[in-house]
């Protein structure tokens, strides 16, 4: 039986996975993937709450907007990563440490 709780558990797992990816992975592309996981976790939450609890379209609208802005953010993020790669020849997050101090 799939109920609201199942969706919430899945989305929470996705959220935690996203945070873990962002903390643990050193590859910048993988970190961008982690951001996508977090955003999708909340989009899933919005849809699930709308389906099971609330009888309005607010959650669907929210998740549509989340998908659109996630795409925009990924585009900008990848553009910046490409520029960083051209300058440093590396997409390792530890190479982005010249600004400290």
């Amino acid at each position: 039986m799939i109920n609201l709780g199942s969706y919430l558990i899945i989305s929470f797992a996705l959220f935690i996975c996203g945070i873990l990816v962002m903390v643990a992975r050193k590859n910048i592309i993988a970190i961008l993937l982690g951001i996508e996981l977090i955003l999708n976790a909340s989009a899933l939450n919005f849809v699930a709450y709308t389906k099971f609890m609330n009888n309005n379209l607010d959650g669907h609208i929210m998740s549509l907007f989340i998908i659109v802005t996630a795409a925009a953010e990924a585009a900008v993020g990848l553009g910046i990563v490409i520029r960083f790669f051209q300058l440093r020849e590396s997409i390792h997050i530890d190479d982005a440490a010249t600004l400290q101090n």
């Binding site: 951001i35 977090i38 939450n45 929210m62 802005t69 953010e73 900008v76 910046i80 960083f84 300058l87």
Partner: protein, 488 residues
């Protein structure tokens, strides 16, 4: 229904002007050849557009407060005043970007287009009345800011700043959304007015369960104003980006985030519930941490720009203090603080930018003996530094006094003491510049080209409000007093 929509547009003219301006400037920019040096029409067009938007905002100011577009936006004097501050800041930064050598000549037009875009995001955030608008405002601000931070394409530090900004920003936006989704699930709608009603129907246990979601929600906006646990990006980004971009980041996103937080506080936490207590506790902790960490870290900095970055963190903390008291006195203090903060930051960044363009870096030593070469500029810088510290009779003093007054009125004595102590700490690094400028002999007699007559004149004109507001502050207070937050 449709007629209502059309009627609402009349209240939304400033934003529409800016959207049209951004589109127009983008099209105009494509008509220039790549190697064309002087693209002055974009600059002039941008300035005219901003001034028109400013005029329509001023016209909007006295209108009655109402929600527009099916209650998704709110137009009240508070949001209008915050928007006026943001537009003024953008106008100031436009001219700075024009004279600065820190931005590539070929990218100056793009800077103007993107600054207008960020301004639109800030204005959405300032008048947002539902979750969706908050999210869209934050993202409009952020996505363009990422690009702006990595503006020096061939500079490793700048692209690194953009990268850090994008990664931290994506994370915090995601966390904010996750919090929002749970708030939405419990309260059943994304409209703030409906949410506030539903919130009061919950019992105490349910409210406490909802509180972590509000903390997650706070992360997203706290990140935009660089409140302390989420401030790590700020000094790096401020140092890595070109100086006009830094000045812009220090003004527009901060003011926008503060006004959004003020509205959230008013809508959800006016009633005496356990949530109000924990929200106030959260804000108090964040505010005192933000002030203290910002000030203490600023002491050790060698670069003036980085010092200003940390000092702007601590000023965000002071503005957060005004949000702790959720009442009209606090809001009045914040709006006044925003106005003075705008002018102080602009002048400080103008001078730092011009000095940096001459010498290629912005270490404290570059300011030694400035008083002997450019007495006017040294006096202006001294005034700004005194005002940032909060010494009377300057505007910064009145602004800080108002915040402390609001705190004392609501019996937040600890926070008021922390604020006062922090002002003492900040005096050290602000007055360090003054000491270097006046008491030390100059290293050389070089002429700084940036301090031409026109630039000096503009800087002095921008300093005038700091002096005037310090003495004749009642008029602005009346203005700020009218700028109450409106909610249904």
């Amino acid at each position: 229904m449709y007629l209502n929509y059309l009627a609402n547009i009349a209240r939304y003219i400033p934003e529409l002007i800016l959207v049209a301006l951004m589109a127009g400037l983008l099209i105009l920019e494509t008509t220039y050849r790549e190697d064309e040096k002087n693209k002055k029409y974009i600059f002039i067009g941008g300035l005219i557009g901003l001034v028109v938007a400013l005029a329509s905002l001023v016209a909007n100011f006295s209108g009655k407060s109402e929600t527009i577009f099916s209650q998704s936006m709110i137009i009240d004097p508070f949001s209008t005043l915050m928007k006026i501050i943001m537009v003024l800041g953008t106008i100031g930064v436009f001219y700075l970007s024009r004279i600065s050598k820190d931005i590539y000549e070929s990218l100056k037009t793009e800077f103007i287009v993107m600054a207008v875009g960020i301004l639109i995001g800030g204005m959405i955030l300032a008048s947002a009345n539902n979750m969706l608008m908050i999210y869209i405002g934050v993202e409009t601000l952020s996505i363009l800011s990422y690009v702006m931070a990595s503006f020096k394409k061939n500079d490793e530090r700048s692209s690194e700043a953009g990268l850090k900004y994008a990664l931290y920003g994506g994370l915090s936006a995601g966390i904010m959304l996750f919090g929002m989704s749970h708030i939405f699930g419990v309260l059943g709608t994304i409209q703030f007015s409906g949410m506030a009603v539903n919130l009061l129907k919950l019992n105490q246990a349910q409210m406490l369960i909802l509180m972590p979601s509000f903390i997650l929600f706070f992360v997203g906006i706290g990140y935009k104003i660089a409140a302390v646990p989420f401030h790590m990006w700020s000094p790096d980004v401020y140092e890595g980006s070109p100086t006009p971009v830094t000045a812009f980041f220090a003004i527009v996103p901060k003011i926008a985030g503060i006004s959004a937080l003020a509205r959230i506080g008013f809508i959800f936490f006016t009633a005496a519930t356990p949530m109000r207590a924990s929200w106030i506790l959260l804000l108090m902790a964040v505010a005192s941490l933000t002030m203290t960490v910002g000030n203490v870290t600023a002491i050790g900095q060698k670069s003036v720009k980085r010092m200003l970055a940390y000092s702007s963190i601590s000023h965000a903390g002071i503005m957060l203090c005004g949000l702790v008291v959720i009442n009209d006195i606090g809001v009045r203090a914040i709006t006044f603080y925003g106005i003075t903060y705008l002018f102080m930051t602009l002048v400080a960044f103008y001078i730092v930018s011009i000095v940096q363009d001459k010498y290629g870096n912005d270490h404290f030593d570059r300011f030694t003996g400035l008083a002997y070469r450019y007495p006017f500029m040294a006096v202006v810088m001294t005034i700004v530094m005194f005002s940032l510290t909060g010494l009377p009779p300057l505007a910064g003093f009145v602004a800080k006094f108002n915040i402390i007054n609001a705190l004392l009125n609501s019996h937040f004595y600890t926070l008021a003491i922390i604020l006062a102590l922090n002002s003492v700490v900040s005096a050290y690094y602000y007055l360090k510049i003054v000491r270097l400028m006046t008491l030390k002999q100059q290293e050389s007699n070089e002429v700084i080209e940036g301090f031409g007559f026109l630039n000096q004149f503009i800087i002095i004109v921008m300093t005038a409000p700091i002096l005037v507001l310090g003495v004749f502050w009642e008029n602005i207070m009346m203005l700020a007093n009218g700028a109450k937050i409106f909610f249904q």
